[in-house]
């Protein structure tokens, strides 16, 4: 026998199931007033610095059908590229939002401010992006992705430049559809 390792594996994930909104977005689930204050209602408060933007989109399954039961969380830096808790970060940016695909149309909307570039540990900066985490019935482990913006300089981004197939890069870039408005569709498969 060898020496035992002292670390233990992560708890395994399970799907969030069809009723994830009961626990994480009670008002959306039809139970308003469950909590005095729900988590992640908006990633920004009044007075946040930077450009206000709105991102709309849908999460599509392998048949092209938009999920009606997806729950998404976003996490982002402020307009200067600082995350909440870091020195000098904008106090009006909590950075975290929970939003759901509409139960009828399957479309989601994220209203926030556009984040600034974020320096990596090694100096090179990530282009402005918003991290997403997607859970739903049928998704056994939460899916991580990022929203980049087509009107930003994404050339040197360490993540995007790692992607060999350039068509896959386009799937991470939100398309501009108006002044401060973007569309970001998520295709789970196909």
């Amino acid at each position: 026998m060898v020496q035992p390792l002292s670390h233990q594996p992560e708890t395994p994930s399970q799907t969030a199931g069809p009723y994830v909104h009961i626990g994480l977005m009670p008002t959306y689930a039809g139970n308003p007033g469950y909590y005095d204050e729900e988590i992640g209602v908006s990633p920004v408060a009044e007075g946040a610095q930077g450009q206000v933007i709105e991102i709309v989109g849908s999460v599509y399954d392998g048949t092209g059908w938009a999920l009606r039961d997806a729950l998404i969380e976003s996490w982002q830096a402020d307009s200067a590229g600082l995350f909440p808790g870091q020195d000098g970060a904008d106090p009006a940016v909590s950075g975290h939002c929970r939003f759901a695909a509409d139960a009828v149309t399957g479309e989601f909307t994220l209203r926030t401010v556009k984040p600034g570039p974020v320096p990596s540990r090694y100096g090179r900066a990530f282009a402005p992006h918003i991290s997403l985490w997607i859970v739903a019935r049928g998704i056994n482990i939460g899916l991580q992705t990022r929203i980049y913006f087509e009107d930003e300089d994404n050339e040197g981004d360490p993540l995007l430049s790692r992607i060999e197939q350039r068509p896959r890069v386009n799937t991470l870039i939100a398309k501009k559809i108006g002044d401060g408005r973007y569309r970001f569709d998520i295709r789970l498969q196909g």
Binding site: Q14, V20, I22, Y34, Q76, A77, Q189
Partner: protein
């Protein structure tokens, strides 16, 4: 902010298969392309924090929180408790744990649940709490019932409580389900079976914990949760492309 080091890469062998045909919904909702791997950076190593002030006194008491304390829910009264730790066995303090569940009859208070078992007028099925400085959390609730779901011919979910944990960074974000010791439906469940590693599945099964139960009041089940840890290193060489 102190650089605590990159997150330990997620060991996907310890997690469910994304594509699992016995769980039918996963067939069209699992990516065909391989995941891209990247060393964690600020976007993954930071995460939201939640202050104690925004939580109500009954937020972790599902027996009473739907009626704001006016009347208790029906069912088997239980304490669900445990610790949130990281892979290095360090407690994760002040982190948000959220749960949701069906009532004693297996019915969810969700507009989309049309199962014929009735709602309990005194039960909502939703709770949240922050871990203490030792990573400890607890909920008072009722044991949820099993329920049928339209998957294969006659599938029933084992009794379970859904659990969502934040940790201290967005890359630690985890949703899972707690099952109950001795439930004969666990080996029949295609969702539980998405975890191929049997010893990992066993870690989702909470044992009865008589030592934490209270006589003439509630039984207890212990459920510890392990999140990704940080890799502490003296050597951080610049990686290709970073």
């Amino acid at each position: 902010m102190t650089d605590l080091g990159p997150l330990i890469p997620r060991d996907r062998e310890m997690h469910p298969e994304p594509y699992w045909p016995d769980y039918k919904t996963s067939v069209a909702r699992s990516p065909h392309q391989p995941l891209l791997s990247l060393e964690s950076g600020p976007s993954e190593e930071t995460g939201p924090t939640f202050g104690h002030s925004r939580f109500g006194a009954l937020d972790n008491n599902l027996i009473l929180n739907w009626t704001k304390g006016a009347a208790p829910a029906v069912g088997e009264r239980i304490l669900m408790h445990g610790r949130v730790l990281d892979e290095n066995n360090r407690p994760v303090p002040n982190t948000l744990v959220e749960i949701w569940q069906a009532n004693a009859g297996g019915r969810y208070r969700h507009k989309k649940d049309t199962y014929l078992a009735p709602l309990d007028p005194n039960f909502g099925g939703c709770g949240r709490t922050l871990t203490d400085e030792n990573g400890y959390y607890q909920f008072l609730t009722i044991r949820p019932g099993a329920y049928p779901w339209p998957n294969r011919g006659n599938d029933w979910r084992p009794m379970h409580i859904h659990v969502s944990v934040f940790g201290h960074s967005f890359g630690q974000r985890l949703i899972t389900q707690m099952y109950f010791e001795g439930d004969p439906l666990i080996p029949l469940c295609p969702i539980a079976a998405t975890i191929r590693n049997r010893s990992q599945l066993d870690r989702l099964v909470a044992p009865l914990d008589m030592a934490r139960s209270r006589r003439l009041d509630f039984l207890a089940y212990k459920f510890d949760i392990v999140l990704r840890g940080r890799r502490q290193t003296m050597f951080e060489n610049k990686l290709e492309g970073m």
